[in-house]
């Protein structure tokens, strides 16, 4: 379970999500026989909320250790459509971490959203779905779903909404979030490019007098380019990220899905 907290700043930067080092505190000759129910299947996800859209993205590589199990294993799922083909879905869930738990989590949430639709005759709002997802995760507090989930959609006012989670259900609504193996590589880039952190108006003053660049919501085209750049960067520096980029754009007109190639090395 140590890998679950590999975002630990003490570990200093990005880490591989499996343990390569020999165990230090095991007694001489001791062998571990206990079954470890978790692994990390690598990969990375990303979500950005715009003024009237949300964009979710994830790479399609599935790894275990140094092996690539599959080059096309989607991490993005449409949630809560009327039927299995999810044609009229309005919410997208991305999961990264332990793939089997991610799959189970997705199916749980989808089933619950479908039940809601049949009982109330209307689709679940993103806000309600977000709260429910937190509850589902927390219900397994002592045997958690080892998955970093991000939920994206449009809120009641039609604005882009992104909710991000930790494996035990803590969540918050955010403007943007990166998850998974390359989260620590992508998130600082997003802070700078989406929230304009550390961007100042040139010659506006010294020290505290420096004026921050004014924040404005990004356009859809800008965000799509940003997402591709973020993943191209992550692919270059993280071995568990690559192969394909799956992107879902949620607007008032529905969900558009785009599949782009990434480096396969």
């Amino acid at each position: 379970m140590a890998a679950m907290f590999s975002q630990n700043p003490l570990m200093n930067g990005p880490n591989y999500s499996y343990n390569d080092a020999p165990r230090v505190n095991a007694p001489e000759g001791a062998r571990e026989h206990r079954f470890d129910p978790y692994t990390d299947n690598g990969g990375s996800t990303l979500a950005i909320a715009g003024a009237d859209f949300s964009i979710m993205a994830g790479d399609t590589r599935l790894t275990s250790g140094y092996s690539i199990n599959s080059r096309h294993h989607p991490k993005l799922f449409k949630i809560g459509g009327t039927t299995a083909d999810q044609k009229d879905a309005t919410i997208v869930l991305s999961v990264v971490g332990f793939a089997a738990d991610g799959e189970a989590l997705k199916e749980r949430l989808d089933a619950i959203c479908k039940m809601y639709r049949y009982r109330h005759g209307k689709p679940m709002s993103v806000k309600a779905c977000a709260q429910r997802l937190s509850t589902i995760l927390y219900q397994k507090r002592f045997f958690p779903y080892y998955a970093y989930a991000i939920l994206g959609g449009l809120d009641e006012e039609g604005k882009g909404a992104v909710y991000s989670y930790d494996p035990v259900g803590s969540y918050e609504r955010e403007q943007c979030r990166a998850g998974g193996a390359a989260a620590s590589l992508i998130m600082p880039f997003l802070d700078n490019q989406v929230n304009f952190k550390n961007q100042y108006i040139p010659n506006s003053g010294e020290g505290h007098a420096l004026q921050e660049r004014e924040r404005r919501p990004l356009t859809r085209n800008e965000v799509e380019i940003l997402v591709k750049d973020a993943f191209d960067g992550a692919v270059e520096r993280h071995i568990e990220v690559g192969d394909g980029l799956q992107m879902m754009v949620i607007t008032a007109n529905g969900i558009e899905e785009v599949l782009l190639p990434l480096k396969r090395d």
Binding site: F35, R71, H72
Partner: protein
């Protein structure tokens, strides 16, 4: 002498105290399969134009001992699918019994409709389980067992045709992790055979262009490489071809055209030259 025969031959309570039977009660952690014992090595499979080819050798090892040399690790299901097992052999046999029971139930269930023609062309009869259905069942079973901390120590490949009569190949392991790919391999095969298979079927489109003959040749070549380099492997193996016409399973193939000439040149591990 004690008048109760039950007490004869037992430690006397007045001397030794009451017998402590607590160890007989099983209230500690469950001690089911926590590590594999008799194991099978790689299973490899590749999709082609109208089906899937799968192969696995006939060896079951006990650690480094080649314990059983005639173990069939590819099992057909309902003549629509093939299931290949890597990992613990007893867990494989448990699953095989379980699947046989499922197949029997399915056969009774669809007895009445067995005369109807197969319109989907998926090799499965009307309403019969196809490979995709079987795979979903197996992956739920494996994930459930991992949640119970009582895993079935296998990696499983399922091959056949899906509901749209397209070639289907997928994998599930002891933790319930599921994935699909144009070619798949378990164990050592993932390191040695998968790169060779990916040369021929890197994408689904490549796989859809492969002929049956080409696919069988690739698989045979991979089995040879595995026998050369995997110390827990055997030159006798099973090979199965699944198409819409059913499963063709050959369980006693012999590796052909081996050449050990390369072995002459091997000295030590990499850097050694003399």
């Amino acid at each position: 002498m004690d008048h109760r025969p039950q007490a004869w031959g037992r430690p006397r309570d007045d001397v030794y105290g009451a017998y402590d039977a607590s160890y007989l009660h099983n209230n500690g952690p469950k001690t089911a399969t926590q590590s594999p014992i008799v194991t099978g090595t790689s299973v490899i499979a590749i999709k082609f134009k109208d089906g899937v080819v799968m192969a696995a050798d006939n060896l079951a090892s006990y650690g480094s001992l080649a314990r059983f040399t005639d173990v069939k690790r590819l099992r057909p299901f309902l003549s629509t699918s093939v299931v290949g097992f890597g990992g613990d052999v007893s867990d494989m046999q448990f699953l095989d019994r379980h699947l046989k029971e499922l197949a029997t139930d399915e056969a009774y269930e669809h007895e009445a409709s067995s005369t109807t023609t197969d319109e989907g062309g998926s090799g499965a009869g009307e309403g019969q389980l196809n490979a995709a259905n079987l795979y979903k069942y197996l992956s739920k079973l494996m994930y459930r067992r991992r949640n119970d901390f009582d895993p079935l120590w296998n990696q499983i490949l399922v091959a056949g045709l899906d509901a749209h009569a397209k070639p289907f190949l997928a994998s599930v392991d002891l933790r319930g992790t599921t994935f699909t790919s144009p070619s798949l391999a378990t164990g050592f095969g993932a390191m040695l055979a998968q790169p060779i298979m990916r040369r021929y079927a890197a994408t689904e489109e490549d796989a859809a262009r492969l002929t049956r003959e080409e696919a069988v040749n690739v698989i045979k070549e991979c089995m040879k490489v595995l026998f050369y380099r995997d110390a827990r492997s055997l030159d006798r193996y099973s090979i199965a071809v699944v198409t819409k016409d059913g499963v063709e399973l050959s369980e006693d193939e012999q590796l052909e055209k081996q050449s050990w000439a390369f072995a002459e040149r091997i000295r030590g591990y990499g850097t050694q030259v003399v």
